[in-house]
Symmetry: C2
Subunit: 266 residues, 2 copies
Protein backbone atom coordinates (compact mmCIF):
# COMPACT_ATOMS: atom_id res chain seq x y z
CA UNK A 1 0.00 0.00 0.00
CA UNK A 2 1.08 3.55 -0.65
CA UNK A 3 2.33 6.19 1.74
CA UNK A 4 0.58 9.55 2.02
CA UNK A 5 1.96 12.75 3.48
CA UNK A 6 -0.37 15.49 4.71
CA UNK A 7 1.42 18.82 5.01
CA UNK A 8 -0.69 20.91 7.41
CA UNK A 9 -2.86 18.78 9.68
CA UNK A 10 -5.51 21.39 10.56
CA UNK A 11 -9.23 20.96 9.90
CA UNK A 12 -8.98 20.02 6.21
CA UNK A 13 -5.74 18.02 6.43
CA UNK A 14 -6.92 15.99 9.41
CA UNK A 15 -10.38 15.46 7.89
CA UNK A 16 -8.63 14.13 4.78
CA UNK A 17 -6.61 11.78 7.00
CA UNK A 18 -9.74 10.47 8.75
CA UNK A 19 -11.67 10.07 5.48
CA UNK A 20 -8.73 8.37 3.73
CA UNK A 21 -8.25 5.99 6.68
CA UNK A 22 -11.96 5.10 6.63
CA UNK A 23 -11.70 4.40 2.89
CA UNK A 24 -8.53 2.32 3.39
CA UNK A 25 -6.65 4.40 0.82
CA UNK A 26 -3.11 4.27 2.21
CA UNK A 27 -0.85 1.91 4.14
CA UNK A 28 0.67 4.78 6.09
CA UNK A 29 -0.34 8.41 6.67
CA UNK A 30 2.45 10.78 7.73
CA UNK A 31 1.70 14.26 9.06
CA UNK A 32 3.93 17.33 8.72
CA UNK A 33 2.79 20.26 10.85
CA UNK A 34 3.74 22.51 13.74
CA UNK A 35 4.12 20.44 16.95
CA UNK A 36 0.74 21.28 18.59
CA UNK A 37 -1.24 20.80 15.35
CA UNK A 38 0.62 17.55 14.57
CA UNK A 39 -0.06 16.32 18.12
CA UNK A 40 -3.77 17.13 17.69
CA UNK A 41 -3.88 15.17 14.43
CA UNK A 42 -2.21 12.18 16.10
CA UNK A 43 -4.68 12.43 19.00
CA UNK A 44 -7.72 12.16 16.69
CA UNK A 45 -5.98 9.38 14.67
CA UNK A 46 -5.97 11.44 11.47
CA UNK A 47 -2.30 10.49 10.91
CA UNK A 48 -0.12 7.52 11.93
CA UNK A 49 3.09 9.42 12.61
CA UNK A 50 4.79 12.81 12.44
CA UNK A 51 7.95 13.60 10.47
CA UNK A 52 9.78 16.69 9.31
CA UNK A 53 9.10 17.84 5.75
CA UNK A 54 12.21 16.39 4.04
CA UNK A 55 12.09 12.84 5.45
CA UNK A 56 8.30 12.76 4.99
CA UNK A 57 8.44 13.78 1.32
CA UNK A 58 11.17 11.21 0.67
CA UNK A 59 8.63 8.48 1.60
CA UNK A 60 5.54 9.95 -0.07
CA UNK A 61 3.73 8.41 -3.04
CA UNK A 62 0.97 10.97 -2.46
CA UNK A 63 1.27 14.49 -0.99
CA UNK A 64 -1.62 16.69 0.17
CA UNK A 65 -0.72 20.34 0.78
CA UNK A 66 -3.38 21.53 3.23
CA UNK A 67 -2.15 24.92 4.36
CA UNK A 68 -3.11 28.54 3.62
CA UNK A 69 -2.57 29.65 0.01
CA UNK A 70 0.69 31.56 0.43
CA UNK A 71 2.25 28.76 2.49
CA UNK A 72 1.32 26.30 -0.28
CA UNK A 73 2.92 28.68 -2.80
CA UNK A 74 6.18 28.80 -0.89
CA UNK A 75 6.17 25.00 -0.36
CA UNK A 76 5.72 24.43 -4.09
CA UNK A 77 8.85 26.51 -4.63
CA UNK A 78 10.97 24.38 -2.29
CA UNK A 79 9.82 20.74 -2.51
CA UNK A 80 11.06 19.82 -6.02
CA UNK A 81 14.40 18.41 -4.77
CA UNK A 82 12.68 16.62 -1.86
CA UNK A 83 9.83 14.69 -3.50
CA UNK A 84 9.99 11.06 -4.58
CA UNK A 85 10.12 10.88 -8.40
CA UNK A 86 6.68 10.12 -9.81
CA UNK A 87 4.79 11.15 -6.69
CA UNK A 88 1.31 12.68 -7.02
CA UNK A 89 0.91 16.09 -5.33
CA UNK A 90 -2.31 17.98 -4.81
CA UNK A 91 -3.54 20.76 -2.50
CA UNK A 92 -6.68 22.23 -0.94
CA UNK A 93 -5.90 25.93 -1.49
CA UNK A 94 -8.83 28.34 -1.95
CA UNK A 95 -7.42 29.99 -5.09
CA UNK A 96 -5.89 28.08 -7.99
CA UNK A 97 -4.24 30.29 -10.64
CA UNK A 98 -1.11 31.19 -8.62
CA UNK A 99 -0.85 27.72 -7.06
CA UNK A 100 -1.17 25.85 -10.37
CA UNK A 101 1.44 28.14 -11.97
CA UNK A 102 3.86 27.25 -9.15
CA UNK A 103 2.90 23.56 -9.36
CA UNK A 104 3.55 23.46 -13.12
CA UNK A 105 7.22 24.17 -12.42
CA UNK A 106 7.60 20.80 -10.67
CA UNK A 107 8.88 18.15 -13.08
CA UNK A 108 9.95 15.23 -10.85
CA UNK A 109 6.35 14.68 -9.71
CA UNK A 110 2.82 15.37 -10.94
CA UNK A 111 0.99 18.33 -9.46
CA UNK A 112 -2.81 18.70 -9.89
CA UNK A 113 -4.55 21.55 -8.08
CA UNK A 114 -7.53 20.78 -5.86
CA UNK A 115 -10.17 22.58 -3.85
CA UNK A 116 -12.71 20.67 -1.74
CA UNK A 117 -15.85 22.82 -1.27
CA UNK A 118 -16.15 21.89 2.38
CA UNK A 119 -15.41 23.47 5.71
CA UNK A 120 -16.62 24.10 9.22
CA UNK A 121 -16.72 27.13 11.48
CA UNK A 122 -14.28 25.43 13.85
CA UNK A 123 -10.60 25.12 13.01
CA UNK A 124 -7.81 22.70 13.84
CA UNK A 125 -7.56 18.90 13.94
CA UNK A 126 -9.99 18.78 16.89
CA UNK A 127 -12.82 19.70 14.47
CA UNK A 128 -11.83 17.14 11.84
CA UNK A 129 -14.55 14.84 10.49
CA UNK A 130 -14.22 11.74 8.31
CA UNK A 131 -17.51 12.87 6.71
CA UNK A 132 -16.45 16.47 5.96
CA UNK A 133 -16.21 15.95 2.19
CA UNK A 134 -19.30 13.77 1.74
CA UNK A 135 -21.55 14.92 -1.10
CA UNK A 136 -19.47 18.07 -1.53
CA UNK A 137 -17.86 19.11 -4.84
CA UNK A 138 -14.06 18.72 -4.96
CA UNK A 139 -12.58 20.82 -7.76
CA UNK A 140 -9.61 19.37 -9.67
CA UNK A 141 -7.75 21.64 -12.09
CA UNK A 142 -6.89 18.92 -14.63
CA UNK A 143 -8.09 15.42 -15.47
CA UNK A 144 -6.42 12.64 -13.47
CA UNK A 145 -8.21 9.31 -13.14
CA UNK A 146 -6.41 8.28 -9.95
CA UNK A 147 -7.12 11.52 -8.14
CA UNK A 148 -10.76 11.50 -9.27
CA UNK A 149 -11.15 7.99 -7.88
CA UNK A 150 -9.51 9.02 -4.59
CA UNK A 151 -11.84 12.00 -4.23
CA UNK A 152 -14.85 9.77 -4.94
CA UNK A 153 -13.71 7.27 -2.33
CA UNK A 154 -13.82 10.10 0.25
CA UNK A 155 -17.49 10.61 -0.62
CA UNK A 156 -16.92 13.84 -2.59
CA UNK A 157 -17.85 14.65 -6.19
CA UNK A 158 -14.85 15.42 -8.42
CA UNK A 159 -15.46 18.45 -10.68
CA UNK A 160 -12.97 19.51 -13.32
CA UNK A 161 -12.44 23.24 -13.68
CA UNK A 162 -9.39 25.06 -15.05
CA UNK A 163 -7.61 27.43 -12.63
CA UNK A 164 -8.85 30.65 -14.29
CA UNK A 165 -12.49 29.53 -14.33
CA UNK A 166 -12.17 28.32 -10.74
CA UNK A 167 -10.85 31.62 -9.47
CA UNK A 168 -13.46 33.64 -11.37
CA UNK A 169 -16.33 31.49 -10.03
CA UNK A 170 -15.16 31.35 -6.40
CA UNK A 171 -14.72 35.14 -6.47
CA UNK A 172 -18.51 35.19 -6.95
CA UNK A 173 -19.56 32.21 -4.84
CA UNK A 174 -17.21 32.61 -1.90
CA UNK A 175 -15.00 35.72 -1.86
CA UNK A 176 -17.77 38.21 -2.71
CA UNK A 177 -20.15 36.80 -0.04
CA UNK A 178 -17.30 37.08 2.51
CA UNK A 179 -16.62 40.74 1.66
CA UNK A 180 -20.37 41.53 1.46
CA UNK A 181 -20.71 40.22 5.04
CA UNK A 182 -17.56 42.00 6.23
CA UNK A 183 -18.66 45.31 4.66
CA UNK A 184 -22.17 45.01 6.11
CA UNK A 185 -20.92 44.21 9.61
CA UNK A 186 -18.23 46.89 9.41
CA UNK A 187 -20.85 49.50 8.39
CA UNK A 188 -23.28 48.43 11.10
CA UNK A 189 -20.58 48.57 13.79
CA UNK A 190 -21.19 52.32 13.93
CA UNK A 191 -24.62 51.69 15.53
CA UNK A 192 -25.83 49.80 18.59
CA UNK A 193 -28.30 47.43 16.98
CA UNK A 194 -28.57 44.80 19.70
CA UNK A 195 -32.12 45.83 20.57
CA UNK A 196 -33.36 45.59 17.00
CA UNK A 197 -31.41 42.53 15.87
CA UNK A 198 -33.46 39.69 14.42
CA UNK A 199 -32.40 36.43 12.76
CA UNK A 200 -31.70 38.09 9.37
CA UNK A 201 -28.78 40.20 10.53
CA UNK A 202 -27.27 37.16 12.27
CA UNK A 203 -27.31 35.20 8.99
CA UNK A 204 -25.80 38.12 7.10
CA UNK A 205 -22.95 38.78 9.54
CA UNK A 206 -21.89 35.20 10.40
CA UNK A 207 -19.11 35.22 7.78
CA UNK A 208 -17.79 38.47 9.23
CA UNK A 209 -16.45 36.36 12.13
CA UNK A 210 -13.92 34.81 9.69
CA UNK A 211 -10.22 34.99 10.45
CA UNK A 212 -8.42 37.72 8.49
CA UNK A 213 -5.03 35.93 8.21
CA UNK A 214 -6.72 33.09 6.28
CA UNK A 215 -8.57 35.52 4.01
CA UNK A 216 -5.52 37.71 3.44
CA UNK A 217 -3.98 34.90 1.36
CA UNK A 218 -7.14 34.33 -0.64
CA UNK A 219 -7.75 38.01 -1.32
CA UNK A 220 -4.17 38.74 -2.34
CA UNK A 221 -4.08 35.85 -4.85
CA UNK A 222 -7.44 36.60 -6.52
CA UNK A 223 -7.57 40.39 -6.40
CA UNK A 224 -8.72 41.16 -9.95
CA UNK A 225 -11.61 38.68 -9.95
CA UNK A 226 -12.76 39.88 -6.53
CA UNK A 227 -12.54 43.53 -7.57
CA UNK A 228 -14.72 42.76 -10.60
CA UNK A 229 -17.20 40.85 -8.42
CA UNK A 230 -17.41 43.77 -5.95
CA UNK A 231 -17.96 46.20 -8.82
CA UNK A 232 -20.79 44.02 -10.18
CA UNK A 233 -22.37 43.79 -6.70
CA UNK A 234 -22.22 47.57 -6.27
CA UNK A 235 -23.90 47.91 -9.67
CA UNK A 236 -26.65 45.51 -8.60
CA UNK A 237 -27.16 47.44 -5.34
CA UNK A 238 -27.48 50.67 -7.33
CA UNK A 239 -30.12 48.95 -9.48
CA UNK A 240 -31.92 47.86 -6.29
CA UNK A 241 -31.86 51.48 -5.03
CA UNK A 242 -33.39 52.70 -8.27
CA UNK A 243 -36.02 49.94 -8.13
CA UNK A 244 -36.80 50.81 -4.49
CA UNK A 245 -37.52 54.40 -5.49
CA UNK A 246 -39.71 53.35 -8.44
CA UNK A 247 -41.48 50.52 -6.59
CA UNK A 248 -40.13 47.92 -9.04
CA UNK A 249 -38.27 45.54 -6.71
CA UNK A 250 -40.29 42.41 -7.44
CA UNK A 251 -38.06 41.13 -10.30
CA UNK A 252 -34.98 41.45 -8.05
CA UNK A 253 -36.70 39.42 -5.32
CA UNK A 254 -37.80 36.81 -7.86
CA UNK A 255 -34.33 36.40 -9.40
CA UNK A 256 -32.77 36.24 -5.94
CA UNK A 257 -35.26 33.66 -4.68
CA UNK A 258 -34.66 31.54 -7.79
CA UNK A 259 -30.88 31.45 -7.22
CA UNK A 260 -31.30 30.80 -3.48
CA UNK A 261 -33.67 27.87 -4.20
CA UNK A 262 -31.40 26.49 -6.91
CA UNK A 263 -28.41 26.46 -4.52
CA UNK A 264 -30.49 24.57 -1.96
CA UNK A 265 -31.54 21.91 -4.46
CA UNK A 266 -27.95 21.35 -5.61
CA UNK B 1 -60.62 38.65 33.03
CA UNK B 2 -60.21 40.71 29.89
CA UNK B 3 -61.01 39.82 26.31
CA UNK B 4 -58.30 39.98 23.64
CA UNK B 5 -58.79 40.15 19.89
CA UNK B 6 -56.01 39.08 17.54
CA UNK B 7 -56.55 40.47 14.04
CA UNK B 8 -54.48 38.26 11.73
CA UNK B 9 -53.80 34.82 13.20
CA UNK B 10 -50.69 33.92 11.18
CA UNK B 11 -47.32 33.04 12.69
CA UNK B 12 -46.99 36.11 14.94
CA UNK B 13 -50.67 36.44 15.86
CA UNK B 14 -51.03 32.77 16.75
CA UNK B 15 -47.71 32.73 18.62
CA UNK B 16 -49.02 35.68 20.65
CA UNK B 17 -52.21 33.72 21.37
CA UNK B 18 -50.25 30.67 22.56
CA UNK B 19 -47.85 32.75 24.67
CA UNK B 20 -50.70 34.81 26.20
CA UNK B 21 -52.68 31.66 27.01
CA UNK B 22 -49.62 30.11 28.69
CA UNK B 23 -49.19 33.31 30.75
CA UNK B 24 -52.91 33.34 31.64
CA UNK B 25 -53.28 36.91 30.38
CA UNK B 26 -56.86 36.89 29.09
CA UNK B 27 -60.19 35.27 29.89
CA UNK B 28 -61.05 34.96 26.20
CA UNK B 29 -59.01 35.20 23.00
CA UNK B 30 -60.94 35.97 19.82
CA UNK B 31 -59.36 35.61 16.38
CA UNK B 32 -60.23 37.63 13.28
CA UNK B 33 -58.68 36.23 10.10
CA UNK B 34 -59.45 34.70 6.72
CA UNK B 35 -61.29 31.36 7.17
CA UNK B 36 -58.32 29.00 6.57
CA UNK B 37 -55.92 31.02 8.76
CA UNK B 38 -58.55 31.35 11.52
CA UNK B 39 -59.23 27.59 11.33
CA UNK B 40 -55.48 26.92 11.65
CA UNK B 41 -55.28 29.15 14.73
CA UNK B 42 -58.23 27.34 16.31
CA UNK B 43 -56.63 23.98 15.51
CA UNK B 44 -53.40 24.88 17.39
CA UNK B 45 -55.47 26.42 20.26
CA UNK B 46 -53.97 29.88 19.72
CA UNK B 47 -57.51 31.38 19.93
CA UNK B 48 -60.76 30.36 21.62
CA UNK B 49 -63.18 31.46 18.92
CA UNK B 50 -63.48 33.25 15.58
CA UNK B 51 -65.60 36.33 14.93
CA UNK B 52 -65.91 38.96 12.22
CA UNK B 53 -64.04 42.22 12.79
CA UNK B 54 -66.94 44.41 14.03
CA UNK B 55 -68.42 42.02 16.63
CA UNK B 56 -64.92 41.07 17.78
CA UNK B 57 -63.80 44.66 18.34
CA UNK B 58 -67.02 45.42 20.24
CA UNK B 59 -65.89 42.88 22.87
CA UNK B 60 -62.17 43.71 22.96
CA UNK B 61 -60.34 45.21 25.93
CA UNK B 62 -57.08 44.50 24.09
CA UNK B 63 -56.50 44.39 20.32
CA UNK B 64 -53.38 43.03 18.57
CA UNK B 65 -53.07 43.93 14.89
CA UNK B 66 -50.83 41.19 13.49
CA UNK B 67 -51.02 41.65 9.74
CA UNK B 68 -48.72 43.07 7.06
CA UNK B 69 -47.97 46.80 7.40
CA UNK B 70 -50.33 48.16 4.77
CA UNK B 71 -53.23 46.03 6.05
CA UNK B 72 -52.59 47.41 9.55
CA UNK B 73 -52.59 50.93 8.08
CA UNK B 74 -55.97 50.43 6.45
CA UNK B 75 -57.43 48.79 9.60
CA UNK B 76 -56.31 51.76 11.71
CA UNK B 77 -58.30 53.99 9.34
CA UNK B 78 -61.52 52.00 9.79
CA UNK B 79 -61.68 50.67 13.37
CA UNK B 80 -62.29 53.93 15.30
CA UNK B 81 -66.11 53.57 15.29
CA UNK B 82 -65.88 49.83 16.09
CA UNK B 83 -63.58 49.71 19.14
CA UNK B 84 -64.73 49.60 22.74
CA UNK B 85 -64.00 52.96 24.41
CA UNK B 86 -60.81 52.77 26.45
CA UNK B 87 -59.48 49.64 24.73
CA UNK B 88 -55.71 49.18 24.33
CA UNK B 89 -54.57 48.60 20.74
CA UNK B 90 -51.12 47.57 19.58
CA UNK B 91 -49.59 45.96 16.51
CA UNK B 92 -46.61 43.92 15.31
CA UNK B 93 -45.89 45.82 12.06
CA UNK B 94 -42.29 45.93 10.81
CA UNK B 95 -42.23 49.72 10.28
CA UNK B 96 -43.58 52.22 12.78
CA UNK B 97 -43.69 55.83 11.50
CA UNK B 98 -46.68 55.43 9.15
CA UNK B 99 -48.51 53.07 11.53
CA UNK B 100 -48.07 55.32 14.59
CA UNK B 101 -49.26 58.34 12.61
CA UNK B 102 -52.42 56.43 11.67
CA UNK B 103 -52.80 55.14 15.25
CA UNK B 104 -52.53 58.66 16.69
CA UNK B 105 -55.78 59.57 14.93
CA UNK B 106 -57.70 57.10 17.12
CA UNK B 107 -59.22 58.89 20.13
CA UNK B 108 -61.74 56.38 21.57
CA UNK B 109 -58.96 53.96 22.47
CA UNK B 110 -55.21 54.01 23.18
CA UNK B 111 -52.86 52.96 20.38
CA UNK B 112 -49.20 52.11 21.12
CA UNK B 113 -47.06 50.78 18.27
CA UNK B 114 -45.18 47.53 18.77
CA UNK B 115 -42.61 45.36 16.99
CA UNK B 116 -41.49 42.03 18.43
CA UNK B 117 -38.00 41.18 17.07
CA UNK B 118 -38.92 37.55 16.51
CA UNK B 119 -39.83 35.36 13.59
CA UNK B 120 -39.36 32.01 11.91
CA UNK B 121 -38.75 30.91 8.35
CA UNK B 122 -42.13 29.14 8.33
CA UNK B 123 -45.36 31.09 8.06
CA UNK B 124 -48.94 30.60 9.22
CA UNK B 125 -50.52 29.43 12.49
CA UNK B 126 -49.07 25.92 12.00
CA UNK B 127 -45.60 27.35 12.80
CA UNK B 128 -46.78 29.24 15.90
CA UNK B 129 -44.78 28.76 19.12
CA UNK B 130 -45.63 29.87 22.66
CA UNK B 131 -41.87 30.47 23.08
CA UNK B 132 -41.40 32.61 19.95
CA UNK B 133 -40.89 35.87 21.86
CA UNK B 134 -38.75 34.51 24.69
CA UNK B 135 -35.63 36.59 25.35
CA UNK B 136 -36.31 38.67 22.23
CA UNK B 137 -36.62 42.47 22.26
CA UNK B 138 -40.16 43.80 21.77
CA UNK B 139 -40.13 47.43 20.69
CA UNK B 140 -42.87 49.74 22.03
CA UNK B 141 -43.17 53.23 20.55
CA UNK B 142 -44.28 54.94 23.78
CA UNK B 143 -44.20 54.18 27.51
CA UNK B 144 -47.18 52.13 28.77
CA UNK B 145 -46.79 50.19 32.02
CA UNK B 146 -49.56 47.68 31.23
CA UNK B 147 -48.20 46.85 27.80
CA UNK B 148 -44.64 46.55 29.10
CA UNK B 149 -45.85 44.11 31.76
CA UNK B 150 -47.76 42.10 29.14
CA UNK B 151 -44.69 41.88 26.90
CA UNK B 152 -42.58 40.76 29.87
CA UNK B 153 -45.10 38.07 30.77
CA UNK B 154 -44.65 36.64 27.25
CA UNK B 155 -40.93 36.27 28.01
CA UNK B 156 -39.86 39.21 25.80
CA UNK B 157 -37.85 42.31 26.74
CA UNK B 158 -39.79 45.57 26.26
CA UNK B 159 -37.64 48.28 24.62
CA UNK B 160 -38.91 51.81 24.15
CA UNK B 161 -37.98 53.48 20.87
CA UNK B 162 -39.78 56.32 19.10
CA UNK B 163 -41.15 55.53 15.62
CA UNK B 164 -38.51 57.55 13.73
CA UNK B 165 -35.57 55.96 15.59
CA UNK B 166 -37.16 52.53 15.15
CA UNK B 167 -37.52 52.89 11.40
CA UNK B 168 -33.98 54.26 10.99
CA UNK B 169 -32.45 51.42 13.02
CA UNK B 170 -34.44 48.57 11.42
CA UNK B 171 -33.50 49.96 8.00
CA UNK B 172 -29.93 49.07 9.04
CA UNK B 173 -30.53 45.90 11.08
CA UNK B 174 -33.23 44.26 8.97
CA UNK B 175 -34.14 45.97 5.69
CA UNK B 176 -30.55 46.50 4.49
CA UNK B 177 -29.53 42.86 5.23
CA UNK B 178 -32.61 41.71 3.27
CA UNK B 179 -31.75 43.82 0.23
CA UNK B 180 -28.04 42.92 0.49
CA UNK B 181 -29.04 39.24 0.28
CA UNK B 182 -31.54 39.84 -2.52
CA UNK B 183 -29.01 41.87 -4.55
CA UNK B 184 -26.28 39.26 -4.04
CA UNK B 185 -28.53 36.35 -5.03
CA UNK B 186 -29.97 38.30 -7.96
CA UNK B 187 -26.45 39.09 -9.23
CA UNK B 188 -25.26 35.51 -8.80
CA UNK B 189 -28.29 34.13 -10.65
CA UNK B 190 -26.44 34.94 -13.88
CA UNK B 191 -23.96 32.13 -13.15
CA UNK B 192 -24.22 28.42 -12.43
CA UNK B 193 -22.44 28.24 -9.10
CA UNK B 194 -23.76 24.94 -7.82
CA UNK B 195 -20.39 23.22 -8.21
CA UNK B 196 -18.51 25.86 -6.26
CA UNK B 197 -21.10 26.60 -3.57
CA UNK B 198 -19.89 26.31 0.01
CA UNK B 199 -21.59 27.15 3.31
CA UNK B 200 -20.85 30.90 3.03
CA UNK B 201 -23.02 31.54 0.00
CA UNK B 202 -25.87 29.60 1.63
CA UNK B 203 -25.77 31.89 4.69
CA UNK B 204 -25.63 34.98 2.51
CA UNK B 205 -28.57 34.02 0.27
CA UNK B 206 -30.99 32.54 2.84
CA UNK B 207 -32.87 35.84 3.23
CA UNK B 208 -33.29 36.02 -0.54
CA UNK B 209 -35.93 33.29 -0.16
CA UNK B 210 -38.19 35.84 1.59
CA UNK B 211 -41.65 36.53 0.24
CA UNK B 212 -41.87 39.74 -1.81
CA UNK B 213 -45.49 40.62 -0.89
CA UNK B 214 -44.51 40.86 2.79
CA UNK B 215 -41.45 42.97 1.99
CA UNK B 216 -43.30 45.24 -0.43
CA UNK B 217 -45.19 46.74 2.54
CA UNK B 218 -42.05 47.22 4.59
CA UNK B 219 -40.05 48.74 1.74
CA UNK B 220 -42.79 51.12 0.67
CA UNK B 221 -43.27 52.47 4.21
CA UNK B 222 -39.57 52.99 5.01
CA UNK B 223 -38.15 54.02 1.64
CA UNK B 224 -35.99 57.00 2.66
CA UNK B 225 -34.25 55.22 5.53
CA UNK B 226 -33.61 52.15 3.36
CA UNK B 227 -32.28 54.28 0.50
CA UNK B 228 -29.86 55.96 2.92
CA UNK B 229 -28.80 52.56 4.31
CA UNK B 230 -28.17 51.22 0.79
CA UNK B 231 -26.12 54.32 -0.07
CA UNK B 232 -24.01 53.84 3.07
CA UNK B 233 -23.50 50.14 2.25
CA UNK B 234 -22.40 50.98 -1.30
CA UNK B 235 -19.96 53.50 0.18
CA UNK B 236 -18.57 50.84 2.51
CA UNK B 237 -18.19 48.38 -0.39
CA UNK B 238 -16.29 51.02 -2.37
CA UNK B 239 -14.00 51.47 0.65
CA UNK B 240 -13.52 47.68 0.76
CA UNK B 241 -12.60 47.71 -2.97
CA UNK B 242 -10.00 50.42 -2.38
CA UNK B 243 -8.62 48.51 0.64
CA UNK B 244 -8.49 45.29 -1.41
CA UNK B 245 -6.31 47.03 -4.00
CA UNK B 246 -4.01 48.55 -1.38
CA UNK B 247 -3.85 45.41 0.80
CA UNK B 248 -5.39 47.26 3.76
CA UNK B 249 -8.46 45.12 4.49
CA UNK B 250 -7.56 44.08 8.02
CA UNK B 251 -9.35 47.01 9.78
CA UNK B 252 -12.57 46.19 7.87
CA UNK B 253 -12.37 42.55 8.96
CA UNK B 254 -11.69 43.60 12.56
CA UNK B 255 -14.61 46.05 12.72
CA UNK B 256 -16.91 43.49 11.10
CA UNK B 257 -15.84 40.71 13.46
CA UNK B 258 -16.40 43.01 16.45
CA UNK B 259 -19.99 43.80 15.40
CA UNK B 260 -20.72 40.15 14.57
CA UNK B 261 -19.43 39.05 17.99
CA UNK B 262 -21.33 41.81 19.76
CA UNK B 263 -24.61 40.73 18.14
CA UNK B 264 -24.01 37.15 19.27
CA UNK B 265 -23.40 38.18 22.87
CA UNK B 266 -26.57 40.29 22.98
Amino acid sequence: MQTAVIVGTGLLGSSFGLAARRAGLFGRIIGVSSPPVAAGALAVHAIDEVLDLAPALAEADFVLLAQPVRRILSLLGEIEPLVKPGALITDVGSTKVAICAAGAAITRATFIGGHPMAGREVRGPEGALATLFENRPWILTAPHAGLEEMVRSLGAQPVQLNPADHDRLVALSSHLPQLAATALASLLSENDLRQVAGPGILDMTRLALSSFPLWEDILSTNRDNIDAALAAYIGELEAVRAALRSGMLQPHFERGARLASQLRRA
